[in-house]
């Protein structure tokens, strides 16, 4: 378990005790570079799609006649028009709103896993998200999230910005003994008043207090503030030609890219995107699903291009708490289901494929006669990413109570 004290001792470099002000980034880089390229940290970016994304529309088994029967208005096809599904492999078609991601599927950096979900069949958003974030489906009392446990299993000391959540509040996935910094927005992170005197008073009060936990937290906050203000000051703008969609997720991914490019030791980044709960008016090529899909895809693509120089060290993973019903409902939408699909982006990913398995969607093959059955436990995917990308192999701690196997997805 990383302790704040240990960190403060180990870093030793005058870097973090420089008085509040600017930290020249070249100094930062010089010091980091001297500690070896190959020891450069790997970063895992997690995007939680909250609301239950319809995997069957995102990556659709377009030849399935049952699906066609059960989705009279929502079924999509592969044809020559630019408005239709993009044939990925003869069986699955990618929703056109995701088309900006297609080049990465083709160059094998993007993999899709279908039929993935939780063994515990709750259809409550709240419970299912909780289980996916705790990594212990079916157990409600778990006190930490799997990403927090992952931080604890990383193999060496980290920086104060090793685990960052770009969200309004701390998600359950990153809660626990290890510290995660919640940064809703890089530009406004810090003390309300930028005045030096205020900063000095804050620093003095927190560095000279006898209350240890408060002192450690205070000093850490000062380090984080310094690092973030240096990042803001360095004006790491997205590379030329890259535009992140004007949206919260676009903004969040831009900031994550900023953090990665600033070399602050970011190893785990979490963010989220809502708007996937398409009970009504889901639409096909246009509509609420297509809208969200395009924003997500374009944001991910912008990030991936922005991180061109860092790709070998970054993996991006999406997830959603469950999928949606095979059959469309009476309001032009779909209801809560079970399995969905997820995307993994990375240079070591076994990309250009749809992994996992979904059956022919005959009623008797469906769970409860209505839902896409879960054929891959989400932990098989998460554990694989953690092991191959972050070198975390202690699955017993990462996913207590799980005795499954990792799904080979990365090399």
């Amino acid at each position: 378990m990383w302790t704040r004290k240990a960190f403060l001792k180990s870093l030793g470099i005058g870097l973090y005790s420089i008085s509040i002000g600017s930290v020249p980034l070249f100094l930062n880089r010089a010091i980091m570079a001297s500690s070896d390229e190959e020891r450069r940290r790997k970063t895992l970016i997690v995007i939680f799609q909250r609301g239950a994304m319809d995997g069957l529309m995102a990556v659709s088994p377009f030849k399935d006649s049952h699906l066609k029967k059960m989705r009279p208005t929502l079924m999509m096809n592969v044809d020559q028009s630019g408005q239709s599904l993009i044939d990925l492999d003869g069986s699955f078609g990618l929703h056109p709103a995701f088309n900006s991601m297609l080049p990465f599927f083709i160059n094998r950096e993007l993999a899709i896993v279908h039929g993935v979900g939780s063994p515990y069949p709750t259809r409550s958003h709240f419970d299912a998200q909780n289980y996916m974030e705790s990594g212990t489906p079916g157990i409600k009392g778990t006190q930490s999230g799997w990403l927090n446990r992952a931080v604890g299993l990383l193999d060496r000391e980290g920086t104060p910005l090793r685990s960052v959540s770009v969200t309004k509040r701390q998600p359950f996935a990153t809660q626990g003994d290890e510290s995660t910094v919640v940064v809703p927005d890089l530009r406004s992170f810090g003390l309300r008043s930028g005045h030096q005197t205020i900063k000095n008073i804050y620093r003095t009060l927190y560095s000279e207090t006898g209350f240890e936990a408060l002192r450690d937290a205070g000093q850490e906050s000062i380090s984080v503030m310094k690092m973030i203000s240096a990042i803001n000051a360095s004006k790491h703008r997205p590379a030329k030609g890259i535009v992140y969609p004007k949206s919260r997720i676009g903004n969040n991914l831009r900031q994550i890219a900023q953090l990665i490019k600033a070399d602050v030791g970011l190893e785990i980044a979490f963010t989220e995107m809502g708007g996937w709960d398409t009970h009504r008016r889901q639409g096909t090529t246009a509509g609420s699903f297509a809208r969200q899909a395009k924003i997500l895809a374009d944001s991910v693509v912008a990030l991936w291009r922005d991180l061109e120089d860092h790709r070998q060290n970054v993996v991006l993973l999406t997830m959603t708490e469950f999928g949606r019903t095979v059959r469309e409902n009476g309001s032009g939408g779909t209801d809560h289901g079970r399995a969905s699909c997820l995307f993994i982006l990375g240079s070591q990913v076994d990309g250009g494929k749809v992994h996992g398995h979904i059956p022919v969607l005959a009623p008797e093959a469906l769970e409860d006669q209505r839902d896409l059955p879960v054929t891959t436990d989400f932990r098989s995917v998460f554990a694989e990413v953690a092991a191959q990308h972050l070198s975390i192999t202690n699955d017993t701690i990462l996913f207590p109570g799980w005795s499954g196997r990792r799904l080979p997805l990365l090399s």
Binding site: S193, T204, T209, A213
Partner: protein, 596 residues
């Protein structure tokens, strides 16, 4: 004549005795023995049994006497007139539970009702999104429906207003503790509109009463029945009364010996098997509530129960449901609940087979008595006593209570049959409690931090919305703790790099007037006072008995060394006021103010 005088004298003596007796009954707080001055003791009492002292309150407590003050808190003797006026502003204050539910339909229900009443076409895809929204808003207005987000806002606002303004602080502090212990969350859609009632009906009335009563009230309340799924828990088909009747009919033709044997082996099978639940089926047991009942509400995770106990408990509690008749009345738009209870016991869903819970055998087919007996068993269990004692000790005394202390408190729990008032009195009269005075080793939760600030600054609150947002930002979204464990009670849980920054920012925003709906008094600038002296006097008022000399000296030094506009001078510039406000805000955000 003489006889009369004797009688009068006897009566006077009796009266005197009664007066003395009632005084003797009041708990005697052993703070002098702990070597504390009146002032130190009063401060500690206020810190632990209220949400933080108000200016001058320490003196008032000393005036009326600490024992007396404590007794008044236990008896909730203080007037609530001022508070009631404030609460009257909230819509929910004057609503019955039924009205709260009827008037705050979820978005989904609103839509369904609008469709049912023909206001919105069934195939809503036909309407544009804005048209739909307008129609729904008009429909809601017509029926005097309010949004659930407004309901949540008022629920949170009620808690904030009560905690800041009530003079019966102890009950408020205890309601916060016990709600958290029997946590339910507004993130659960079905439970959500029941939560205002849950706090009022299942928690608050029992905080100084009997543990069993609170336990049973929470077990039966719709908020909990929905939140932990017991409402959906049903006996396995073969374990119902109906099935038994069916078996009896078909067995009539068989030999009686065989049927007896069959029944016995079924029971053995059910209790020894580690039954993996099949959740979310229309029929079948749901273990959620039973598990949390044992793990969180009573025995505690190491309390010595097994998976078999969880299953048996779940089986005993089958049939405990939210009353469909009550829900129907809401659906049909009736005016009142017609005195129907929101809880009901549904016989046909109850598992009638015998069970064994924590070594005690429950006879078959006793209906609701089954579940009640389980609640009784767990309420009196020694592990429960330990669990509750530990939690109370952590909340009121220290984050690391000794085993010996916990044992003593647990003993009070057991010998008083779970009398929570005696638990509090036991804590207040324990040397361990008083040993913590002046140590400041407990960390304020976000809620306590904000409320204690509002109390010490005598804030005037016109709107609670931004305050709730701040409390959530600092880490404690009210009534929205996702897991049933509730929030932890330790500094390590609350304090991290982000939260300390947020606390400082809260302080600064509060004092620079940036929190809408809240006004605090920043004592007027006295031109004769140097800025340093001002900071000093502020520190003294914020930290009544603590040695804050070091703090304001440090601040003073920094100020002196800083830019000219902050140097002590006579000009009441806007900048200076702004900066002063920020410094006060920082003091609120200082480490010293985070502990109590």
């Amino acid at each position: 004549m003489f006889q009369l005088a004797k009688i009068r004298f006897a009566l006077l003596l009796l009266l005197a005795f009664c007066l003395v007796a009632t005084h003797v009954v009041a708990t005697s707080l052993p703070y002098a023995k702990a070597g504390l001055t009146d002032r130190e003791a009063a401060t500690h009492l206020l810190n632990r049994f209220t949400f933080g002292p108000r200016p001058g309150q320490i003196d008032r407590v000393i005036e009326i006497g600490l024992d007396n003050w404590f007794r008044q808190q236990i008896e909730s003797e203080n007037s609530t007139a001022g508070l009631d006026l404030r609460l009257a502003q909230l819509g929910i204050t004057n609503m019955t539970t039924f009205q709260v539910l009827s008037r705050h339909p979820s978005n989904g229900s609103l839509r369904s009702m609008a469709i049912r009443d023909g206001v919105v076409p069934e195939n809503i895809v036909d309407l544009e999104a804005d048209q739909l929204k307008t129609k729904l808003q008009e429909y809601a207005k017509e029926h005097r429906f309010r949004s659930q987000s407004l309901l949540m806002q008022e629920l949170k606002g009620r808690k904030i207003l009560r905690s800041v303004y009530t003079d019966n602080q102890l009950v408020e502090v205890l309601t916060d503790f016990w709600f958290n212990h029997f946590n339910v969350s507004t993130t659960h859609g079905q439970a959500r509109p029941w939560i205002p009632s849950y706090e009022e009906v299942a928690i608050r009335p029992y905080v100084l009463g009997r543990f069993y009563d609170m336990l049973e009230a929470t077990a039966k309340h719709p908020a909990m029945l929905f939140y932990l799924d017991n409402h959906q828990s049903n006996a396995e088909e073969s374990a119902t009364a109906k099935a038994k009747r069916k078996r009896r009919r078909t067995r009539k033709s068989r030999l009686s010996k065989t049927s007896l044997g069959a029944a016995k082996s079924e029971e053995n099978m059910m209790s020894s098997q580690a039954i993996i639940p099949k959740p979310n089926k229309k029929r079948g047991i749901n273990e959620n509530y039973a598990r949390e009942l044992l793990e969180l509400h009573t025995l505690g995770v190491d309390g010595g129960y097994t998976q078999a106990d969880v299953v048996a408990t779940a089986r005993a509690l089958t049939g405990w449901k939210v009353n469909g008749k009550y829900l129907n009345r809401i659906k049909k738009g009736k005016n009142s609940d017609n005195a129907i209870n929101s809880f009901t016991f549904v016989k046909s869903s109850h598992d009638i087979n015998p069970k064994t819970v924590l070594g005690q055998r429950l006879s078959p087919n006793r209906g609701i008595a089954d579940g009640k007996q389980v609640l009784d068993i767990v309420a009196q269990h020694p592990s429960t006593a330990q669990h509750i004692a530990r939690k109370l000790a952590v909340r009121f005394v220290t984050e690391s209570p000794t085993e010996a202390y916990i044992n003593r408190l647990a003993q009070i729990f057991l010998s008083s049959s779970g009398n929570l008032r005696q638990m509090i009195e036991g804590i207040a009269t324990s040397p361990e409690f008083w040993a913590e005075a002046k140590r400041y080793r407990k960390t304020k939760s976000p809620f306590r931090f904000v409320v204690s600030t509002l109390r010490i600054t005598e804030a005037e609150i016109k709107s609670t919305r931004q305050l709730s947002n701040w409390i959530a930002r600092i880490g404690e979204p009210l009534y929205a703790c996702q897991p049933p464990t509730g929030y932890a009670d330790t500094g390590g849980y609350w304090i991290n790099s982000g939260s300390v920054l947020n606390r400082a920012n809260f302080g600064m925003d509060l004092f620079t007037g940036k929190i809408r709906g809240v006004r605090v008094k920043l004592a007027e600038d006295s031109p004769k006072q140097s800025l340093s002296e001002r900071i000093q006097s502020l520190c003294l008022s914020l930290f009544p008995i603590r040695d804050t000399e070091k703090m304001w000296r440090q601040i003073g030094q920094i100020l002196l060394a800083s830019s000219p506009e902050l140097k002590p001078d006579r000009k009441r510039t806007k900048t200076r006021r702004q900066q002063t406000a920020q410094i006060v805000g920082l003091i609120i955000g200082s480490p010293q103010f985070q502990v109590y």
